[in-house]
């Protein structure tokens, strides 16, 4: 096949997923900010009747930010750099192009179904797997279409070796596929009760401890294969490309990849410490969680070393700032997680606010920062215009960094206070505090977290505005920038 002169990468599908990333990011974080405020000011629970209560909104928040925002970001970046690292254009195959568009259409259908059904309170009640079975089936279809598009492109490639970022995306594809299927084995209650139950409401096929184990095998690997693996893939592409520096050590990246794959799958039982699962399994969960520091830091340090000798870029280019901070937050949360997985620490941390604190230094500082940086990098290349405003980007960076710090520090203090108060006993062995005592003490920290939410959301609106302006009215570029993204 001779490539004709006018052949270009085709970003149609990447653009579509970029729009949904922005949309779901906004909605998901808006709901996040609302539920954070509800925890501080309970009256806010009664704004929209049953649809506005914390319990209804919390799964909406988690599902929208995970399956809406993050997964859209993964798809958008895949359809962007997937072509580039394989050196093949979507335009070269009508089939792959069609699959990509179908993938997007069904994904939107799924997202709408998810939002409506969760608002209506339809839920199979397993965390991060709340969607009912018809939507689960649609999820499988959407996922398979992604696989077809991915392997379709890989089949057509000019570049023989698969770049490391693609390894991570393939792992994301396979890992989620396997775990999602296992965890969502469920039966509509109608069939389990000889007609008494409902067609639309299902229960898990596993029961008791087994159900919990499968649930957290999935639950933790949702963290692994959605919040970690593809995001590492993103930074391995976007940081080198934006800075013009090849990965510090490609061998280390391969090694960290396999290390991560070996270890991550066995860490899920750290969600079930001190529960009814066998002791050896709990210990295994703890041990594997601690070993996990190695491959995680392997990638993060590799990224920081990629900037070796080029640290001046940190001051010139806010995009580099986003990415360097992201890998720093990745290091923080992959150190914090293992600490929480130590059994004695877990005895204090479990069920407290330290856990959402840990979650959000990862998802805000690492996942969101990396996705936004990726989309910023893609924008001038996809829309052939420079980024609308560097100043706005700088302001967004500082605002959101402040927000993340406020979020996790307040939750650290809240969580540890809570954990200590719950277990405090007087000289006779009676509990010293009742639950409401902790709630009263924690109020200021909840208020700080709500403020953090407002700041982070404001930053996200700045991001969205900057992106939209870039798409429609920024200065046009005559040629594609090679490394540093041009910005006004």
């Amino acid at each position: 096949m001779q490539s004709n002169a006018a052949l270009e990468y085709d970003y149609t599908v990447a653009k579509l997923f970029t729009y949904t990333t922005i949309l779901f990011g906004f909605v998901g974080m808006l709901i996040g900010t609302l539920i954070a405020s509800q925890l501080a000011f309970p009256e806010l629970n009664y704004l929209f009747g049953e649809y506005g209560t914390f319990s209804r909104l919390r799964p909406l928040h988690t599902n929208i930010v995970i399956f809406g925002f993050t997964i859209s970001g993964v798809f958008a970046t895949f359809y962007y750099f997937g072509q580039r690292v394989l050196k093949v254009s979507m335009a070269e195959s009508k089939f792959v192009m069609f699959i990509g568009k179908l993938h997007f259409a069904l994904y939107v259908l799924l997202a709408v179904g998810m939002v409506i059904s969760l608002f209506l309170g339809m839920s199979s009640s397993k965390e991060y797997a709340q969607m009912e079975w018809p939507l689960d089936i649609l999820t499988v279809v959407v996922w398979v279409l992604w696989g077809v598009a991915m392997f379709g492109l890989i089949g057509m490639r000019r570049e023989k070796a698969l770049y490391i970022s693609l390894w991570y995306y393939i792992a994301c594809f396979l890992g989620v596929a396997m775990l999602y299927l296992f965890n969502n084995m469920e039966i509509p209650t109608y069939f389990a009760t000889e007609g008494l139950g409902s067609i639309m409401h299902s229960v898990s096929m596993y029961s008791g401890t087994n159900d919990a184990l499968v649930q957290w095998w999935w639950g933790h690997n949702a963290v692994a294969f959605v919040f970690t693996v593809p995001i590492v893939g993103m930074i391995y592409y976007f940081l080198p490309k934006e800075s013009g520096q090849a990965i510090y050590s490609y061998k280390l990246s391969l090694l960290s990849f396999w290390g991560l794959m070996f270890v991550y799958l066995w860490a899920g039982s750290h969600h079930l410490l001190w529960s009814t699962v066998p002791d050896w399994m709990q210990t295994m969960g703890s041990v594997f969680s601690i070993v996990l520091i190695l491959p995680s830091w392997g990638s993060a340090i590799n990224m920081l070393l990629t900037m070796k000798g080029e640290w001046n870029q940190l001051t010139d280019n806010p995009l580099i700032k986003f990415m360097v901070l992201a890998s720093t937050f990745y290091m923080l949360s992959t150190l914090e997680g293992p600490i929480q997985a130590i059994k004695s620490v877990n005895a204090i941390a479990h069920f407290t606010d330290w856990i959402p604190g840990h979650v959000h230094d990862g998802v805000l500082g690492w996942v969101s920062f990396m996705i936004m940086a990726g989309l910023f990098h893609m924008a001038p290349r996809m829309f052939k215009r420079e980024i609308y405003s560097k100043k706005l980007m700088e302001a967004q960076f500082w605002l959101q960094t402040t927000a993340v710090v406020l979020y996790f520090t307040s939750m650290w203090i809240a969580g540890i206070t809570q954990g200590m108060m719950w277990r405090a006993v007087d000289e006779y062995g009676n509990l010293m505090y009742s639950f409401i005592d902790t709630v009263t003490v924690l109020h200021p920290y909840y208020a700080i977290r709500a403020l953090a939410g407002v700041l982070f959301l404001t930053g996200f609106v700045m991001f969205a505005y900057n992106m939209i302006k870039t798409m429609i009215s920024s200065r046009e570029l005559t040629e594609e920038p090679q490394f540093k993204s041009p910005m006004a």
Partner: protein, 71 residues
Amino acid sequence: MDYRALQGYGSFFMSLFLVVMLYGYIVYLYRSEKKGERDFEKYGNIALDDEITSTPVEDKSASERLEEEDK
């Protein structure tokens, strides 16, 4: 020995096996580069030089493509 203990031992030996594999991989990576059989670092350039017109770091060679088209 009940099946739980078996699961425990199974998990232990599987981990051991995987650790050996992983260390084997490290040795393989560095040794093959030292012997000059492979160069892994060049793959880093796939991200930097990724125009559709750029020459692939490792061409999925013309002959290979032809072979596939013949099939």
